[in-house]
């Protein structure tokens, strides 16, 4: 238990060990642990971001779905409106067409009637002239009565 040079030797050894630890042991460990801390923090941040992104995507999906539904609804209602419009239009067209057909038919009928009347008139005149001719053949000169007959025809 003597105090001797060992004391100094021990101090020197101690100082060497501390310097070694300070230079070659502590810094790499600090670096490794710091890097791991950073990696973990980054990982957590990425996870958080991923989660957030997922939520955003979900939200977008919801929005898009909602929009699509609204659009479909709109299209359907528009189509229905258009359909009823078309039906109305067709109805109108049909009515107009019918009226046109009726009017055309009426006009034709009138024309037919007029023609028949003209024909009838011509035939009556011929018949009357023939009759009168027969009656007057013996009595009156054809030439003398020409004027009279013409007058008669004009009066008819």
């Amino acid at each position: 238990m003597n105090i001797n040079l060992t004391l100094i030797g021990q101090s020197i050894t101690f100082i060497f060990f501390v310097i070694f630890v300070m230079k070659y042991v502590w810094p790499p460990l600090v670096a490794a642990l710091d890097e791991r801390k950073k990696t973990i923090a980054d990982g957590l941040a990425a996870a958080e971001k991923g989660k957030h992104d997922g939520e955003l995507a979900q939200q977008r999906v919801h929005e898009t779905l909602k929009e699509a539904k609204e659009k479909a609804q709109e299209i359907i209602s528009q189509a229905e409106k258009r359909a009823s419009e078309i039906i109305e239009e067709s109805k109108d067209n049909a009515r107009v067409e019918g009226e046109r057909i009726i009017a055309a038919a009426n006009a034709e009928i009138e024309q037919e009637v007029n023609r028949a009347r003209e024909q009838l008139r011509g035939q009556v005149v011929t018949l009357a002239v023939n009759g009168a001719e027969k009656v007057l053949k013996r009595e009156i000169d054809e030439k003398a009565n020409e004027d009279l007959l013409k007058d008669l025809v004009a009066q008819l």
């Binding site: 238990m1 003597n2 105090i3 001797n4 040079l5 060992t6 004391l7 100094i8 030797g9 021990q10 101090s11 050894t13 101690f14 100082i15 060990f17 501390v18 070694f20 630890v21 300070m22 070659y24 042991v25 502590w26 810094p27 790499p28 460990l29 670096a31 490794a32 642990l33 890097e35 791991r36 950073k38 990696t39």
Partner: protein, 295 residues
């Protein structure tokens, strides 16, 4: 160790004597053959066993920690790196808890103190006769020495030189940082103007020597208590191991009892060696923190 050839006193003394190399009073250098020889050498001697085992344990510590540090990755740690990181975190937490200033030296210093002292203390758990006997055999076989004159004290921390050497190194660091951070004036003021203070100049002047006496004693007490606490604990522990070992040569009954006692004391000692390493480290940090902080 048989009691026929060596008495208990000699046995204990043999165990407590260091393997010493030094200068004999007549001027020549050589190994001491007895405790008296070692004593006669005075300061100009070195305890070869203390140096050997402290350097060996220190190199073991440095080797494993360097190995782990070199291959340390930020990925999933495995085996050795895990263990080293555990200790690293423990030291780092201790330093962060007690040391408030910024100094890159303190944490490596604390790690060295803790791990090295722990390993040196750990040598205490090796049965007391193994290594000395082996050394005696080696000395007798290869160097023709008398095995009774081959001394081998395997626990460096039971040598006050080792503990005082470390404590003084820490103390010099404390002084260095005190001067560096507070200046000569600040440090002197800390030693002389506290704890007693007075607004009266004359009274204050009277207080200065009293303050200095108190503060100086408390300053010197730091390294002394640091060194002697560790030395005392380890020396006492070693002594008890030696006393238990004597029982082995006292018949079957006492020998068996001694076996149980040794087991019990060794298990208890695991706590002590860790605790002493931890206390030395914590006080080192605290003293250095005091050297950095203004009062």
């Amino acid at each position: 160790m048989s009691s026929e050839t060596v008495s208990s006193t000699n046995y204990i003394q043999h165990h407590l004597t260091n393997w010493t190399y030094g200068q004999f009073p007549d001027g020549h250098w050589g190994f001491a053959h007895s405790a008296a020889d070692a004593k006669s050498m005075g300061f100009m001697a070195i305890h070869v066993d203390t140096m050997l085992w402290s350097v060996l344990t220190g190199l073991v510590f440095l080797f494993f920690f360097r190995k782990a540090a070199k291959s340390a990755t930020a990925g999933i740690p495995s085996g050795l790196q895990n263990f080293v990181e555990m200790i690293f975190e423990f030291i780092d937490t201790s330093v962060r808890g007690s040391f408030t200033a910024k100094n890159d030296l303190v944490a490596p210093l604390a790690l060295t103190v803790f791990a090295w002292i722990f390993l040196m203390n750990l040598m205490d758990l090796v049965p007391v006769d193994w290594i000395p006997h082996f050394a005696g055999w080696v000395g007798a076989t290869f160097f023709g020495a008398d095995p009774h004159h081959v001394y081998m004290k395997v626990v460096p921390s039971t040598d006050p030189n080792a503990t005082i050497g470390m404590a003084f190194s820490v103390f010099f660091l404390v002084l260095y940082y005190s001067f560096k951070n507070k200046g000569i004036g600040g440090f002197t003021a800390e030693l002389t103007l506290m704890p007693f203070q007075s607004s009266n100049k004359v009274v204050q002047a009277l207080f200065i020597p009293i303050n200095f006496l108190l503060e100086f004693v408390s300053l010197i007490a730091k390294p002394i208590s640091l060194a002697l606490r560790l030395f005392g604990n380890m020396y006492a522990g070693e002594m008890i191991f030696i006393l238990i070992a004597i029982m082995f040569s006292a018949g079957w009954a006492l020998g068996t009892l001694g076996g149980f006692l040794q087991l019990g004391w060794a298990i208890f000692h695991i706590l002590i060696i860790t605790l002493q390493a931890f206390i030395f480290m914590t006080l080192t940090i605290v003293y250095l923190d005091m050297a950095h902080s203004e009062h």
